[in-house]
Symmetry: D2
Subunit: 351 residues, 4 copies
């Protein structure tokens, strides 16, 4: 099969940027890697060596490059807004890693701008493309379990990120749970109405000092009545723990963890299996390819599978969870959105 | 092995009373069934036919019977208090089905009375004796998963009880979740500090009309920092769903459902296994025998495995959950206990 | 439910005899233990203490006891013939542990005698009553996998028996595989036509010195075309390994091992489960109760579930396997049966 | 990472040839596809369209192409000999699909010729590179299960090939079991000493008419005492069934089937999972890539992972199985090799 070719630039040559670059080069025909940009010289040097493409320290070089049809934004969150704004202004299509931004008001302005410019924007919620979760959703959508009642998402990282990452992450809800908020919305087929959250810093003193939690249980109620439970932790010794249950009126679905291999070893101590694949690059390897294939489909004129609105709504839920945790009460998304408008009006009045 | 013999009377010849009677007769040497009492003539007739023992419509006949060393209270909850009080006064040891009572103040008075009379009181939280959950707890207590961080309890009935039962049940938290509150305490090794709850009437209109919920997600925080998630539902088409996960600093434990048999059938539609055992009589069959063996141990002078305090604390958590659900906020057990004292003082002032 | 009562005597107070005695006393209403006989004084003393029944060193006391309706023969194999003959002559019904005898000619005479006397004879192939294998057979008989093509039986003991037992066991095929021959016949629904066998003494030097094998792979072809593979070993460090696969034209069935509990423990080394239940008393606990319930049904006038012929055919297959192993060729049961007649005629001519 | 580049030609543009071509182009850096040859015009046209490389109807064009460093032989078995001979003579390295040839004498001549010419020859036993079986072997080699005693290989195709394929396949043992013979050798770490086989045409009348079997149970004894059981069938409704068990003195290993996804669906009929991946292209997808990576390693000067001798020995076992099945007896490989020499001497005498 042959594809129309689209030139692509990667903005940000960190771990996830390099992953997308490699997938584009080896696994996604139709996308051609044209540039990798990053302010760190060593990073773009490595990118140049690996892929033999043009590199630049200034991301604006990518936005202005006429060979570039689309940018893939993998930079730190605080640069997303400027990059989205200028890329859209230059008529480039955009794939943006989550979160689009942390400030909801900002996101709304950006999405309006993107729509005005008539470019496509896809948010990087790759887990929607995981074969297991995609299959689970197909069962739900196909009506196999009847009315959906309860979702249960287990999402536990193998180990906490370094402190430097933590301090810049926006907190557990914006960094880690945001994937689960999106997954819950994806599966529930509705918007979140209310969020309740309970959490602690159990894994490390560092998290506590950073004012964050590393272990949290979050409960959601959706507009269509679906309830959801999210279980997050920054540490799981047995590997990356990514499971989902969906309970409906007539049945249940359970997506279990992937296995490193199918071998069981048995001895006088019992039966043993390898730990789960260690982390997201391994566990979600295929989903990263599929989300770019999906983005290619959007570039070819198809619909965007994960929209900017999807990105916004997950941020809204994260903001509500933050308040719910602090105030030990159920928080509605309506309340958060309302507060934002008030704050934003106040800010403009101040300005 | 031979055992000292203790005479036992069953108070209440319903489903659970007859189960205990049969277990005493066939599976628990050392306990001798002496009487079955129940106000319903047909019920005691059936008991007499099955076990050939003395029966009576008046439960006081059991309490006064000199051959009876211990009573097993399986009557409706509103009779528990009177039966406990008089049995203790008559020097009979007591095994009481949950909940001891719904009114906490009442429970406190009863427990004080039982202690004064120097008789033993065991609460019927049979699940502690389930081989799987008991094994899971042993792993925790043995330190295998390090500091315990998070418990996740799935407890879903195969189908809702009849409306008549629902109306009299005290609501989901007092009737169903109470087992899970006790299990969480049993595994956490600490008292519940706070309860948050979210729920709906999804299974049937009847529940809604009864002002109850049939689906609920409850979050607990324990005094020692452990967090717990409980997932309850009155309906699970695939059988009785009883699972527990425990996550700690160095590992994880998962107690899965029992299987009806170990057979997998495979055809062009895939791989198939039987539904889970249908309900608690089947699933927890062995645990009912073991809790009576444990009670026998207490009668012989050993410690009581599940105390009256255990019964009280689960009721306290249920009361907190009720408030948390209505007021959409986290409720501390301290607050509930305080309110009780206030109410109770007020009531006495009124009286 | 009430049952007609039948008086029962146990012949042989070893491990399996005491198991049957306990099951009769605690779990099989309708059978009443009247006597336990064994030539070893200590054995019957223990039986008397445990069950409070009449005991005797001479098994003929049981056969002559008018209170005894049926004998359960658990003595060493070389005593089975005399006990069956005299019990039948005295009009007692018979439950006999496998093998009925090792000499096929003998078995044929015994079965004829039993039939003449009009008493019932059940052979102790308890595994037919295992819930998993019984369920698997129901699927086959129900036509769920279409025409049956291939059976695969894994039957591996946790550890080899003591040398004394080995020397007296008649060899692996008569002692251990005999259960699998019966299971294969039970599932195939036909008689074995041919046997091929391959084996070694791998577990211990003792087996080799005893001229036996402890590890064997046996292949069967049935009269109806079904093929079967049996995998036997005297040692499995991970517990008693008892599994069956059945492959048919339209599907497959797999009966897996029972689990000690449903708990999985996970840590940085991976996922761990307990070893399988250690041995047959544990694994087949329920099947021993059910085979006696089935025997009770036969005493009440029902059909015998596992006949003397079933006992004979398994011995015939074992004899064929012995020749197949030594001569490294496929051996038909017809050939073995023919040889027996020849030998038997020769013996009579000699006599 | 960068690799030395080797030019590669595919001989035979059928299913497996095209698979190797695609893997070379998309997944194995270091190998460059230079040519695809096939006598069927439509086949090479398709290859040209897909990969844009030179094509030819005459395989000698590939052998003479100076840009080609190695040939990958995917042609019908009867062409392997000529292609190997001429490729070796032209100094090309060789990757050859199994079986190298069906005539053992031929194979010996070819291997001698290849050695003389100093080129590398790898046999296409891709399953050695399957992550599960490779892991299982690592456990064995690492001594985790102690002395290896018994191997059990289940290898059942989803559905029989068309009659035309069957007639040309050389029979079940040469076409299908050959993979299992190699796997058993790979895991046993020794040569096969004896083969016993039992089989039938159960799946289809066509197989019977072709004088072949479609269902077979094969037993092997290795020079080091290891015993092995192979279970083959041309039909499995539930998907491609590829499992291995290894039993040793101190433990057991079990490589289970891969799953299409990790989802379980549960309803009132029980628990359900998707069928296994349908066939080898799916199940062994990764192993095909890894065997070419391994071949690249050999081209770079490393050892050949699966040698010509490996290819020869599997054919020898298949020949023994053929005799064993017909003569219903255990056949030694020594006997087969001896007969070959006799035949070959006789043939030469005739010639």
């Amino acid at each position: 099969m042959t594809y129309r070719e689209f030139g692509v630039a990667i903005l940000g040559a960190g771990r996830i940027g390099m992953l997308h670059a490699e997938n584009i080069v080896t696994a996604v025909p139709g996308l051609t890697l044209k540039m990798v940009v990053d302010p760190v010289p060593a990073a773009i040097e490595r990118a140049h060596e690996s892929f033999g493409v043009e590199v630049d320290e200034d991301w604006r070089a990518a936005v202005q490059n006429p060979e570039v049809d689309a940018v893939i934004i993998c930079s730190p969150t605080d640069q997303h807004a400027a990059q989205i704004r200028e890329a859209a202004a230059a008529g480039k299509h955009i794939f943006c890693e989550k979160p689009i931004a942390r400030d909801l008001e900002f996101i709304d302005e950006l999405l309006a701008h993107v729509e005005e410019q008539g470019v496509k924007l896809q948010t990087g919620f790759n887990r929607r493309f995981d074969r297991n979760f995609a299959a689970l959703r197909n069962w739900i959508v196909g009506g196999e379990i009847g009315d959906l009642w309860v979702l249960k998402i287990t999402s536990r990282d193998p180990e906490p990120p370094p402190l430097s990452y933590l301090q810049d992450s926006g907190g557990l809800f914006f960094d880690m749970t945001i994937h689960d908020f999106d997954m819950a919305r994806f599966l529930a087929g509705a918007e979140v109405r209310e969020v309740t959250a309970c959490g602690s810093a159990m894994v490390s003193e560092e998290t506590k000092e950073a004012g964050d939690v590393d272990t949290a249980l979050i409960t959601l109620r959706f507009e269509n009545g679906v309830l959801a439970q999210i279980d997050n932790c920054r540490q799981a010794t047995y590997g990356y723990d990514q499971r989902i249950e969906a309970h409906g009126r007539s049945g249940m679905l359970l997506a279990d963890n992937e296995r490193a291999d199918t071998v069981t070893f048995a001895d006088s101590d019992g039966f043993h299996r390898q730990p789960s694949p260690r982390f997201f690059l391994e566990r979600y390897h295929d989903s990263y390819v599929r989300e770019l294939e999906s983005f290619r489909g959007a570039l070819e004129g198809g619909p965007v599978a994960v929209s900017g609105l999807d990105g916004r709504q997950a941020v809204l839920a994260a903001a509500a969870a933050d308040i719910a945790l602090r105030e030990r009460r159920t928080v509605t998304l309506e309340e958060v959105a309302q507060d934002l408008k008030v704050e934003s009006t106040a800010r403009r009045a101040d300005g």
